[in-house]
């Protein structure tokens, strides 16, 4: 148990000390949130809620997708390349303990991001929601970030680190924009709406939008996101088992 805790703590430190973390996971979402909220007016209505609450969910989801899929994937690709992964395989620490420590560390950091984003919105923009809405949204965004960690593991199997970085950034930005996290899907042409509605980023954010709108979450969204998670994990396991035999 102790190695697991030390490992998780180390992974948290590594994550939050990375300058890209502060920039992409914290500053960028906060700045974009502020811009969107101010441009549209925090109290103006959208989808039976306010822009202040709606885009808080969008930008928190954006931050978490970037942290989980983008930064996790890029880090894994680098650890494989520079030999840290190999070195870990020589120690008595099991592979599963190593992976679960990384995931635990990520979830802790995700929780921190959610707290910072929600706190910022409540304090600076005076966003108001029912207590259970805050809690439900926070919990959903945390749990729903797990399939994106699976996507990170899949992206982390890319051997070339430059390619891994480029693809991860492209995937996370692409998912965020096409999934309607920057601009609501309703502003897109209808074919893009149909496509975007099936993206993991959209079903992820859509559930939190439903919660802030006081509607019940759409179970189809939850199942689709779960399906993506399974798909990503299976993809990663497939690639890893293939490269092991090489």
């Amino acid at each position: 148990m102790k190695p697991f805790i030390t490992q998780s703590t180390s992974e948290v430190l590594r994550l939050v000390r990375n300058p890209f973390f502060l920039l992409f996971s914290v500053l960028m979402p906060i700045i974009f949130y502020s811009i969107f909220a101010m441009l549209n007016g925090t109290d103006s209505a959208i989808d039976s809620t306010t822009w202040g609450a709606y885009s808080l969910m969008s930008m928190t989801a954006f931050s978490l997708i970037g942290t989980a899929a983008g930064q996790f994937g890029i880090r894994l690709a680098y650890e494989r390349k520079d030999g840290l992964l190999k070195l870990m395989m020589l120690t008595p620490l099991s592979m599963s303990a190593w992976v679960s420590a990384k995931i635990t560390a990520h979830l802790l950091v995700h929780l921190l991001i959610i707290a910072v984003m929600f706190g910022y919105s409540a304090i600076v923009f005076g966003t108001e929601m029912l207590a259970e809405q805050w809690v439900m949204c926070g919990l959903w965004l945390l749990i729903g970030s797990m399939p994106f960690l699976a996507l990170g593991i899949l992206l982390g199997t890319i051997r070339n680190t430059d390619a891994a970085t480029a693809v991860s950034n492209l995937v996370y930005m692409g998912l965020s924009i096409l999934g309607g996290l920057w601009m609501p899907l309703s502003t897109f042409p209808s074919w893009m709406q149909k496509f975007g509605a099936w993206l993991p980023s959209h079903v992820y954010a859509n559930t939190s939008w439903s919660i802030v709108a006081g509607a019940t979450a759409d179970w189809q969204d939850v199942l689709v996101l779960l399906g993506y998670g399974v798909l990503f994990i299976m993809g990663a396991l497939f690639v890893l088992s293939r490269s092991e035999n090489a």
Binding site: T6, R14, D82, G83, L90, P92
Partner: protein, 303 residues
Amino acid sequence: MGLIVFDRVEKKYGNREALRGLSVTFPRGKVTALLGPNGAGKTTAVSILLGLSKATKGTVRVGELQAGDRALRERMGAMLQETPAADGLRVREMLQLFRGYYREPLPLDQLLVISGLEQKANRRASSLSGGEKRRLAFALAMAGNPEIIVLDEPTNGMDVESRMRFWDVIKVYAIQGKTILFTTHYLEEADAVADHIAVIAEGHLIAEGTPQSLKSAFPMRKITFRMAGDGIMEQKLLALPCVMDVKMNGHQVELFSEDTDRLLPLLLKSGIPITDIQVHAAKLDDVFQQLTRTYTENRGSIR
């Protein structure tokens, strides 16, 4: 007594054969150098021993256990060629992290001393210089106080002072009775540190023994001279009696022979225009270069 035993180990990467039936034994409590030119299969042998890759054929045993057995991880420490530094962690934090993996780790202070990183304990590992990262990698290898220490080209990237300090530390561990195996293509290192040298080329063992026995087994000397005039003389030189090998570098020529006394007069009479003639005892380096080259050309006919 052999602690680590490679038995007819073959390893193929696609069509490339990295090991072609390597059989070699590393004695317990000794320092063994695995010596060979680049591409000889040293790193492949090490990664099979460490369980990082699997032999295509043959077995590698460590004591009673098969290489790659999880129980060995507590007993072995290794320094690989890559020098990873977990970005974001300080030297101290990284060492503590690794110490935490083992049941009986070495004290942190000791790890800092043997790696000479006492002054850098609070530096970010990723900000260390190349040589410092190598020393950190060594400290990480030693974190669990292993009885078997495996070092793949350990001094690559270290400056002269770090190298000397590194080998001094290794000698101390050798005296403590640890089994140490290192790969190198620097012969001087093998000569100065190892009790036992195993020479491999093209995935085979081609010679082994103590540094002394290897040296006396190959009493080579060399004649160096400058050739006046042009023309490809290599075949002509090789055709002379007792010439084992010829190295040409422009007009500068090195002739290797076991009997330079007999060769020299024949060389002078051969009519090849030469100046600036010198006779040297060949360095051990030359012996091994010659040895591996002859091996490559004759495919195993010498042994």
